[in-house]
């Protein structure tokens, strides 16, 4: 099977599971369950070619692996459909510029817009104006300030990312019967809400087993800061049992610091799901044993959704006639056991 198609199917499935908004009872034919008859099926066969759709795409500059993968995935997904014309704009970290790009795309009469804003709040008014012109906007990850500014939001789950990392570490600690584990955390930029959510999820999950976060530093999502902050953390903690690093892009620096310090007494969990971390997990020869997903494959899903929106189709296998207004991707824990299954969505950092 075409890998991107497989990825899309997998993701749509995962996304659907994660979305709490719709409580659809069994719609597949196999599971009989309580409902003897299928109520509805929104999408028929989504893969069937339909009406030609022009999708405009705008994202920040690809200055780190994750964002670069977002743009790459979106393009690859669009190329996989014969009925999609893809109009990307080059990434920019200047909101003023991104607003112009969005306006230009509207001027070029795109049918659907996919926007990952540099700053969700700063792009809200512009997106609202686009929606007011009856052009559906798919908001990718960084959320707009008002829900009416997007037709559908698809993004990651920062709280659950931390939560699942915490659950995994707690489970490993119990399996190794470490009673009072020293658990470290390398966070991202602390003032960002996403970092705060991740840390809260992590703390909450550890608390369920009576554990808590020990040494903690905050890097800035870059390799350089990851290295520097981790070196500091290792300096201060002579012994660790586990370490969670929020972000695999900065993880390159985190790993470098761990190697430089010659430390290997603990297990490390990453975040986001980069290809090189997955390679390490698979090879099982470094401290990193798992990573929790916050996958840029959401960009592939966003393009699929944009296509369906443009063709007025729902998501196949869901009973809804319309595309849901909000989809949260699931932060699965990737370990040595299941890493092969996730290799296709690992991104280059």
């Amino acid at each position: 099977m075409d890998p991107s198609l497989a990825r899309r199917r997998f993701l749509l499935g995962a996304g659907a599971l994660g979305a709490s908004a719709f409580a659809v009872a069994c719609t597949s034919n196999e599971s009989g369950g309580d409902t003897p008859q299928q109520v509805a099926q929104g999408g028929e066969d989504n893969a069937q070619p339909g009406k030609q759709v022009t999708i405009g795409f705008s994202a920040p500059a690809g200055d780190h692996g994750w964002i670069a993968a977002i743009t790459k995935n979106a393009k690859a997904q669009a190329d996989a459909f014969k009925d999609v014309t893809f109009k990307p704009t080059e990434g920019t970290n200047d909101v003023n510029q991104q607003i112009s790009q969005v306006e230009s795309l509207v001027n070029e009469n795109v049918d659907v817009l996919v926007i990952l804003p540099f700053d969700g709040k700063a792009l809200t008014a512009t997106a609202q104006e686009v929606m007011d012109k009856d052009i559906p906007v798919i908001n990718l990850d960084r959320i707009f300030d008002t829900p009416t500014a997007y037709r559908t939001w698809i993004g990651g789950d920062n709280y659950r990312m931390g939560y699942n990392a915490g659950l995994y570490i707690a489970e490993q600690m119990k399996a190794k019967s470490v009673s009072n584990p020293i658990i470290g955390e390398v966070a991202g930029i602390d003032s960002l809400p996403l970092t705060q959510e991740r840390s809260k999820g992590f703390k909450d999950a550890l608390a369920k087993s009576g554990f808590s976060v020990g040494p903690r530093v905050a890097a800035e999502f870059t390799v350089e800061t990851g290295e520097k902050q981790t070196a500091n953390l290792l300096q201060g903690a002579s012994k660790l049992d586990a370490l969670w690093n929020h972000d695999d892009d900065q993880g390159v620096g985190v790993m470098a610091a761990i190697d430089a310090a010659g430390r290997s007494e603990f297990l490390m969990v990453g975040g986001a799901g980069s290809r090189n971390m997955m390679d390490y997990i698979k090879a099982d020869n470094k401290v990193i044993k798992a990573t929790v997903l916050y996958s840029p494959s959401m960009a592939s899903s966003a393009i699929s959704l944009a296509r369906l929106l443009g063709q007025s189709k729902g998501v196949a296998d869901l009973a809804e006639h319309e595309i849901p207004a909000s989809i949260t991707t699931y932060s699965a824990v990737v370990t040595k056991e299941n890493v092969d299954q996730y290799m296709d969505i690992g991104f280059e950092s």
Binding site: E90, G91, T92, N96, Q97, S104, N107, K121
Partner: protein, 336 residues
Amino acid sequence: MSDVTEKSTLDERPAVQTAPAKSTSGLRMDIRLTILIGVLVALCVVGYALNPAFLGETNISIMLRLAAAIGVVSVGMTFVIISGGIDLSVGSMVALSSVWMTTLATQEYGPWVMVLCALLVGLGAGLINGVLIAYGKVVPFIATLAMYASARGLAERLSERQTQVVREQGFSDFFRGDLIGIPVLIWMLAVVFAVGWVLLNRTTFGRRTFAIGGNAEAARLAGINVKLHTAMVYGLAGLLCGVAAIMVVARTTSGASTNGMFYELDAIAAVVIGGTLLSGGRGTLIGTLIGVLIFTVVNSIFTQNNLETDIQNIAKGVIIVGAVLLQTLTSRRAKT
């Protein structure tokens, strides 16, 4: 050799005889302008050939609204550079003004206080630059470099690195709206340029700016209060950053400490390709306006045809060097 002597006499022309004497440099200014306009027109033709929608009303509006904030900043930069200085802090002052005007405390007082706040913060920061440079004798590069760092730092502190959304609907309604069919932002750009042009070319303030940039010592001997005037020029640049902040906040309906990144580079580039001498004493606002427009048009061509930004940055560099080289070459030829 005659070239050299001619140049030196030109540079030493009496500083008080300010606006460039028409007989000597008027013609050269015209050649520079003609080249610039030629480049702009050529770019527009390229844009139109690649995509006919390029010169449509909507795209022109998109381009001018994008150019508005940087255009206003460039007006202030033109004054500063003509006076022989440089201002590296404009982007940070835009950020600080945009944050200060959108704090909850400011928003409570309504849209016009927000506007006033942006103007005062910009003016204040600019005057601090000016006083440090004029009275503290700090080199402009260093004084404004310090403001570059600290204004953004203060902006980050005030906003706690959060984006502050404008809840004051009246502000957005007015500044995002149209006035007689033309977006308010474009009006603001036009008014700032018009007022700036009159100020530079038709008032004593403008003549003194040229004089100080040409030869500060001669200007002082001629009775100009150089210190006060220098401080005022930086104050003006700051004030215009306040105006630009209002425009950025209008476009993004929010204030953030990340606003105005690299505005100093864009503004200096526009001023320089507009034919203003970095050493001061000579320059035009029309040139700056065309400089800003050239970059905006390049930008729009790249966006519309989805060319990569790295190439765009290379193109920017080539345009800066090309424009300046072309001007130097032609002005030399015009003289010999």
